[in-house]
Each structure stands twice: as C-alpha cells, then as structure tokens.
C-alpha cells in the first residue's frame, strides 16, 4: 500500500476513465488497509481509489507499477478479490497514506461484485499500456532543427516497432495461455459431448420431421404433432411449424395460458384492463421465484388465449408494443375515456395522462395514439413534447 499517493482524483488531459466500481475494500498484502470501503476507478494511466463517505480521501497509483495480477475466488463470507503485485515505488513518489509496507502486493476486495468486468478491463489496459503513448505533437519539425529531430524520430520509430513486436509476442503467448486455461475449464468432456453425433443427428432428424409437417407430407396424427412439438421445445430448436393463432401449440403453453388467465385478472383490472407484456413478465416471474418463464414462453402462452376462449387477449400495437388486454375491456370505452380526460383538461401529454390514470407512460401513450387514429384527438408535436387535443375538425 505504500505505492499509493494522495490525489485529487481529477483526470489528466490524455487520461480517460475506463471503469469504476464501488464497494471495494483495499488490502495491504493480506491485511485489511486502514481505509473504509470505497470506489475503485481504473483509468488509462492509473488505479485510483476514493473513500465513499469522505470524497476528499482519494489515492492513486500509476499502472506502470503493476507487474502482474490475478483473481482470487470468493469463499464463504469472503468477497472475490483481485491481487495486484507491484514494482517498488519511484524514489520521487508523492506522499500517500502509507510510508512503507512489508508487502509488495495489494488486494482489491469486491464487496458489491463487479470483479469480472474490472478484471477484464484491467487486463485490457495492461496490454494496451496507453499511459506510454505520447500525445500527438502539434507541429512537425521543419528547418535546420529537422535533421537532428528526424534522427531522434527514426530511433523512436524503431524502438516503437521493437516494442510492438515484443508486445505482440506477449499478446500471443498470453492469448494461448488464456485459451488453454479456458479449454481446461470447459473440459474436453463437454466439447466431445457437444459435438457428439447424437446431438447433431437429433437436430437434423427433428428438422426433417418439422419440414414434413410443414409441407404436409405424410399423415402425422395430431397427437404425434403435439408430442413432436414438445420435443422441439425441450431442445430449444426453433419450430418452423409455429402458427400465429396457436403459437407453439404445446401442452406446456396450454397450461401456462390457463394459469395466466387466472393470475392476471386482478392485476389487469387494477391497471385499467391492460398491461404491457414486459410488465406481465416481471409480475409473473417475481411471483414464481423459480422455474421462471422465458419471454418466448410468455408470448407463446398468450397466443393461445383466444383459442382457449379465455377472457384475455394478446395484442400488438403498430409500434410493436405487445400487451395483454382484458376482453371485457372494450376499445370504445378506452377511447371515450381518453377523449373525456383530454377534453376535461384541455390537452394532455402521455406523461400527464399516465399520472391521471395511474398507468405506465407507455400504455397511456398507446391509448392516446389509438384515440388519435380513430379521429377523436389530434396532436401537437413540438420539441416540448407530444401533446394531444380534442379533434374539433
């Protein structure tokens, strides 16, 4: 920890912020540092840390001091960490929180996660070494000076070429190292299994069956079709036989549609008879806790409402927004009430209408647009926003 210097945390001219992460505690070697938890910031040039409570308390260290770093996995009651091994500080280092330290490494403890992304970015910055780049000079040297400057220039270029070559070598060997680590982790068993003939063959067979059904070759029974579709569903293979009216047509989605029919009655009534599909997705999955629905499951189930004669409908607006709507909720009523509200207030924006009805802005906008489409409202579209007025024409 004696590599850090006090800092004001402001970035230099050519320095850019790469990533920041809060909830980080510093360690001097294996010991907790005397600071509290704060935020760590990675720039192109430095590693900066700032106390969350006392913003004045800010320290930084140049990235050039980093020799290497590694991840330390989380454990029970222990957050994940990144261990950073450091060169000794320069003799002319500015004073910092620690005069000296018996350790030549520090740790960053990620109490609120974010270590994956931070590690990735740190790796990137340590490879690119952007702090070594000299800012582009404004003018090119001309005249009698040129001779000498040019010589320096050529030597500089040669040096850069050599550095780049070394870096490329380093990058290549690092890449191979990473790849081999990855392969170990992924494990040869998985690779072999995945490309197992069986998996591929199955996919091919199921595709050919699906095509047969689509082209109506062969008289496959309704029952077998349903069974087959559920195979496709289990495998996660896109079903080319999907029909718009019935969605995927599997038993699973049938059950789901009925469940949704029960579950959504009350929430829909509370919200004026309409909810966006994303709202439904969040509501249902929050309630379930586990064995969650995928977005596709939800869409496929909702497509079955009509054929199951449930009192709900899936509806897609011109904008692409998808909603679930109570069947009892008539279109005319919605439009009439929209017109009433607008007339009452003189004019309304989607946000104002949303507040009035207690609806989401998205859905109130759709209602106003619908009323406009039917010719009851007209719009005033300006930079100040979209406002609707009763149509007096």
């Amino acid at each position: 920890m004696d590599r850090f210097s006090w800092s004001n945390g402001l970035l230099e001219i050519n320095e850019t912020l790469v990533i920041q992460q809060r909830g980080v505690r510093l360690y001097d070697g294996d010991d907790k540092a005397k600071m509290d938890v704060g935020a760590v910031l990675l720039s192109t040039h430095r590693l900066i840390w700032r106390d969350v409570k006392n913003q004045e308390c800010c320290i930084s260290m140049p990235l050039s001091l980093i020799i290497f770093f590694e991840e330390q996995a989380a454990g029970i009651g222990k957050s994940a960490k990144i261990v950073i091994h450091l060169h000794p500080a320069a003799a002319n280092k500015e004073p910092g929180p620690y005069q000296n330290s018996k350790y030549s490494y520090i740790k960053l403890s990620f109490k609120e996660h974010g270590q994956i992304e931070f590690y990735r970015r740190l790796t990137e910055e340590m490879t690119r070494r952007r702090w070594e780049e000299k800012p582009v000079s404004q003018t090119s040297p001309v005249g009698p000076q040129a001779g000498r400057t040019r010589a320096v220039g050529i030597v500089g270029i040669e040096r850069k070429i050599e550095e780049r070559r070394k870096e490329t070598d380093k990058n290549i060997s690092e890449a191979f190292e990473d790849l081999s680590k990855l392969m170990e982790k992924v494990s040869l068993v998985f690779t072999k299994w995945c490309f197992n003939q069986q998996a591929k063959e199955m996919v091919e067979v199921s595709r050919s069956i699906a095509n047969k059904i689509k082209d109506k070759q062969g008289d496959i029974s309704e029952d077998e079709t349903i069974r087959f579709k559920s195979y496709l569903l289990s495998m996660g293979i896109a079903n080319p036989v999907t029909r718009e009216t019935h969605g995927s047509g599997t038993h699973y989605h049938l059950q789901l549609a009925k469940q949704l029919g029960d579950m959504l009655q009350a929430p829909l009534e509370e919200r004026g008879g309409m909810m966006s599909l994303t709202e439904v997705y969040c509501l249902v999955n929050r309630a379930r806790g586990m064995e969650l629905l995928s977005p596709e499951d939800l869409v496929n189930a909702c497509k079955m409402f009509e054929s199951l004669k449930l009192p709900l409908r899936l509806r897609v607006f011109d904008s692409g927004v998808m909603v679930v709507q109570l069947q009892s909720h008539s279109e005319e009523e919605m439009i009439a009430s929209a017109l009433d509200s607008v007339t009452d207030k003189g004019s309304l924006t989607a946000e104002e209408f949303a507040k009035l009805l207690g609806l989401s802005v998205l859905l109130s906008k759709e209602r106003l647009l619908l009323a406009e489409k039917m010719g009851h409202l007209c719009r005033d579209d300006s930079v100040e926003g979209l406002r609707f007025y009763p149509n007096l024409f």
Partner: protein
Amino acid sequence: MHRRGVGAGAIAKKKLAEAKYKERGNVLAEDQIVQMSKQLETFKSHLEEFASKHKQEIRKNPQFRVQFQEMCATIGVDPLASGKGFWSEMLGVGDFYYELGVQIVEVCLALKHRNGGLMTLDELHQRVLKGRGKFAQDVSQDDLLRALKKLKVMGSGFGMIPVGGSYLVQSVPAELNMDHTVVLQLAEKKGFVTVSEIRESLKWEKERACHVLDHLLKEGLAWLDAQAEGDAHYWLPALFSELSSRDITPEEENQMTP
C-alpha cells in the same frame, strides 16, 4: 403393350401410385418419430450426467456460460428459448437469464424519466449489480446482452446501439434510425454535441442536423442547454458519468415494481 398415355387408366394408375407414396411417407415419418424419442431418452441421460458434473461451473463461471452458449449456437439450439427446455431444467441456465431480464427491466423503468430510456451498458451493469446485492452471483456484460436479446421478443422496445466500443441500451420503443445512432456515437466522448460539431464531423447540412437533434429532444433523450458558450449544447443524460453515481430515489423505486 399399350404405351403410357393420358386416359382414364393412366389417371387411375397415377392415383394409386400417389396413394402408395403417401403411405410410405407416413411410415417414414412415424419411424422417424419413434427413432427420435429413443434418441431423446439417450440424449437426456447424457445431459443429466453432464449436468451433475458441470452445473456449478456454468452457474459460477461467466466464461463457461459464453462458451456454452456458443456451442449451442453451433448445433442450432437455443438453450434460453423456453423455461421448459432441457437446458433450463437441468442446468438452471434459464432462471439465471430470465431473472436478469426482470432486473434489467426494473432498472430501466426506474431511470427512464431521467434519461429518456437510453443508458450505457456500463451504467446498467453497475446498477444491476447493486440491485442484486452482495450475496448474489456476479454477472458479466455478456450475460446482460444475452438477457437483453431475449427481452426483445416481447416487443418492449429493447435494443442495443453500438457506441464507442461498448453499447447504449435502449428500453423504450423510440424510433432511432442510422442518423440518430451516428449522432449518439459522436456525442459519446463529451456527453453532448452541437450543431456545428455535427456539420464538421459528419458533413451534414444544418437542416439534417437540427432534424435529428429535435427528434432526440422530443423523445426525451437529449436536453438542450441554450446558455452554453458558443453553440447550443445538446446533452445526452444516457452518457453522463456523474449522473450514474446518483442512487435511485425512493420515488423512482416505486416506478420499478409493475
């Protein structure tokens, strides 16, 4: 021997031939389904074995998840298509991503009034991590991108705009065409953009630049600072980094639960 030709006899023969082919087609398809259900069983048991060995790995290791996803894509299989799929049930991959989807929607809803429904992937990442709490599993940006791809299925206006090496996440169905995207990319460095900057860098006419900026204002994605020195500044809250450190207020939190 009569030559084959048009005539009642030929037609009858043709029909018979067709009927036979049809039957054969039946048999073929049925066979295949039987074959397939057998293969499915074997496949399932392989997967169970794999799951018992590697389930933890998939849950804990984001690199593994990426690798897994890519391999599934190679075979032509989408492991996230359904919560009822093998993959979800046995490996628990589904729940991880579907829950992430819910968390993404909530964060975007809470902040929509501030940034018009546009924010950087970095900011989304930070906020989702914070919302998940200390004891939840870490998520990578790749995880977020996959969850976002799934959310698009519901027509909710989710999209990802490539900007400055990363992405801007769009969460409202605002129409953003190539012109808008290019201006957003231009604004990325400073968080704002001016008409003269657009004309200089993109070589557009004034009308085109103003048209794009007006649209961004209307959609709530840009704020106009007419009092700035020189040209009016059009700020994009999605790109503010100071703003991203401001916490979500209690009122905003109420917006989050549908």
